[in-house]
Amino acid sequence: MLATLFKFKGGVKPASHKDESTLAPIARAPLPPRLVVPLRQSAGGTPQPLVTAGQKVFKGERIGAPEGNFSAAIHAPTSGIVLGVESHMLPHPSGLSAPCVVIEPDGEERWIERVPVNYATESPDALRDLLRDSGVVGLGGATFPSHLKLKPGTAGRIGTLIVNGAECEPWITCDDLLMRERAGEIVHGIAILRHIASADRVLIGIEDNKPQAIAAMRAASAQATGVEVVPVPTRYPAGGEKQLIRVLTGIEIPYGRFGTEFGVQCFNVGTAWSVHRAIEKGEPLVSRIVTLTGNVERPGNFEVSIGTPIDELLKLVAPRADTDRYIMGGPMMGFTLPRTDLPLTKAANCILAASPALIPHPGPEMPCIRCGACTRACPAELQPHELYWFARAKNFGKAQEYGIFDCIECGCCAYVCPSNIRLVDYYRFAKSSMRTLEREKAAADAARERFEFRNQREEREKTEKAARLAAKTAASRQAIADGEKPAAAQAPPVTDSAPALPQLDETKRALIAAAFARTQAQKDSVQPKNTDNLTPEKQAEIREIEARRAQVREMAKTPPEEPV
């Protein structure tokens, strides 16, 4: 049965430039002399290093433990020796640095013991944990941990699984080649994803400019029931998760909601391939397919070990002399790399060499003439020119009201803008400013609450103390007046810290002794520290954390080594 296709509004049709890099089959990139593996390569927490300098590691050995469930493990991409855990600049628009495990490969590619798992006999929970520990994240570029996307949502379960082979960005062909060459393995991965999600049907969306990939995927999935390969019209951003879900199912997932809430979830074909390898071969995610294309002599696709320095890769394709910048990701959503000696991460689907002739620099920015070309191109159905005014005027409230967070930053608006306005940059600025303001506000609120609470507590303690004092005084006066035997007799023996009070009369001495006794009793009854009485496991954990903190402090002291 042919699925009914839905349309998404907007979108653009830039020249695809796919043919350049699809002539040669996927080649294996050689191991570089040094691998720099960032510990944080997915959305969520930063994994903690499990290795130290000088340690030998096997290929696929875990070198970073997932921090909590909202994270994914990191593995050694090859066998070799750990040179250290150091801070390195990451391929990220901000140019930030983060801890990386540096490995010198021994060239032997010795795997850890690989344990294939028969997914059919495993529970979804166990498989999800396995995916987390195998470091499987979305390879479409967002690197969201896959096991989290497989949790059943409010709709009960994921009825429809969408597999994203659309690959709508110009120049990128890594998914295309993967589907052409490894369709069988992708379909195996899809079967596992489907098992975990207990999905009824699977829709594999592929843009109709990839007939070979469509044919390969159809042939590989011919036996499977409920799996359908659906060619979708080529129109950027058809491969955007929300757009593809809309095209294939008609469901529109608004900002801030998840597919699982609507009984649908979307995975990239590369992710499905990694799922197959992680479960059925026991091989964690240590490599990915990367398109190296643009202004180069020999464009193509390569299977690259995570952590390979990008400049090592570029040697394989011979960039031309007039190349003036390198873009990671596609030309619509990718970013210009600040340098090329940065490690390749799980997020890197393409390195595009750009020259002024091939990808011209934008012309000077003119004022907005409200022509509305952006509105017609916006797949999120926003009014980009209005958002531009609000972002420019720092009128963030209005920007939010007009849906700035619904913007997927696909770049269609800026692509069609006759005034050359860098619209997406304005939106990014507004969004990050709003997030910062929100964080600051939350921090200020928390501080104010703490302050008010402290004032209240001090006030309360003062009044309580006064009341206690008054009551005590009254009681002791009463006692003296009644001529009763002072409390000294009932009190525990006076400690040697109690001063000798020979000059005082007996009553007073008795009162003081009673006070000391009370203080002592109070001391004894004080709650134990929350670190006492812990289970040995907890204590071990605390020691571990303390050790790790010390290590981090140590790391912070040594200046980060400049990568060569």
């Binding site: 529109e252 619509m332 970013f335 017609r376 159905e381 209005e386």
Partner: protein, 342 residues
């Protein structure tokens, strides 16, 4: 700054404006055919004044001169002024009106993209209020002698009754809708030399040429269908309704659509993106409102054509229209048409 997207369509403000100018060419050619070459002189005068005013204001405001002079927006304003003014108005009126449009209506409001009112229409309204007689001095059909036209433009000879004539709209209005009017539509149309087959003699062909240029702009995706369709549709609907109700007093839809500034306005003036509404429903409302006001002013107002006033009045409503017609965002359609959560 991240910089994405790195790709850009080969399009610019300059190209958009250039296409608008190209789309005006057929209309100008027919104009010259019927009413002589004076219009070309007026276009040249207005263009020179617009560029001079633009250059002076750019210098005063410290803006990059080359970039903005070359954007073509001043030329579009100039050409629209020349095409909406009578072709034999004195040269100084064309020049001063254009300067007013560029200096006051455009640059004092912030320049390109910032003007709330259509500069060409501001120039038209200011001129017709200040110089009603000169602005009603339309050449008679067949008055195409260039030398004679130039003498009028340079005011070495005053325009005489022999060379000027009331426009079709003016003729119809004064004879039908003034208190002493006793004529009927059929009577006026049949008796007057100014009327052609469906509109004004000569003017009807110019209007059709504007239509051709406008359709090309539509095909080029410089404008969308909303404004021309809503403007001409509503104008035809109102005119048709009233002429059905009282055919003796109200002219029919074809006449209204093809006469005066309607066609030029529908494709070239009400479609001005800067001063117009931007949402699809907003454009429909904007154009419908302009059409309604145009028809009212044509029939009951003091001026022969209501297009310019109608557009300016609707320009004022644009912020409100845009605010009230925001379409729903992807995934939020169940929140209602204006379902933005405040």
């Amino acid at each position: 700054m991240n910089g994405s997207p790195h790709l850009h369509l080969p399009i610019s403000v300059r190209l958009v404006m250039l296409k608008v100018l190209i789309a005006l060419l057929p209309g100008i050619a027919v104009y010259v055919w019927f009413f002589g070459a004076a219009i070309l002189v007026q276009i040249a005068l207005a263009s020179a004044a617009a560029l001079a005013g633009e250059a002076a204001m750019l210098r005063l405001r410290g803006k990059p001169m080359g970039l903005f002079l070359a954007d073509g927006s001043a030329l579009v304003t100039a050409w629209l002024i020349a095409l909406t003014f009578p072709p034999i108005v004195p040269w100084w009126l064309t020049v001063s009106a254009t300067l007013f449009a560029i200096v006051v209506a455009k640059h004092l409001y912030g320049g390109l993209g910032q003007n709330p009112f259509n500069p060409a229409m501001v120039a038209f309204c200011v001129s017709i209020i200040a110089f009603p007689a000169l602005m009603s001095q339309w050449p008679a059909v067949g008055f195409t002698d260039f030398a004679a036209q130039m003498r009028v433009v340079l005011q070495s000879q005053s325009a005489q009754d022999a060379v000027t004539m009331a426009t079709p709209l003016d003729a119809l209005r004064t004879q039908l809708h003034t208190p002493e009017a006793r004529a009927t539509v059929a009577g006026v149309l049949g008796s007057h030399a100014t009327f052609g087959n469906i509109g004004g003699k000569g003017w009807e062909w110019i209007a059709l040429a504007y239509l051709a240029g406008g359709l090309w702009l539509l095909q080029q995706r410089i404008i969308t269908w909303h404004v021309p369709v809503a403007f001409l549709g509503v104008l035809a609907l109102i005119a048709g309704g009233f002429s059905l109700g009282n055919p003796e007093r109200f002219a029919g839809p074809t006449f209204h659509v093809i006469t005066g500034g309607a066609m030029l306005g529908a494709f070239f003036i009400a479609t001005d993106p800067v001063s117009g509404a931007t949402t699809p429903r907003g454009k429909l409302l904007f154009a419908a409102g302009a059409a309604l006001l145009t028809w009212i002013i044509r029939n009951f107002g003091a001026y022969p054509d209501g297009m310019a006033f109608a557009v300016l009045l609707m320009n004022m409503c644009v912020p409100l229209i845009d605010m009230g017609t925001q379409p729903p965002v992807f995934g939020r359609k169940d929140e209602g048409r204006n379902g933005r959560t405040p």
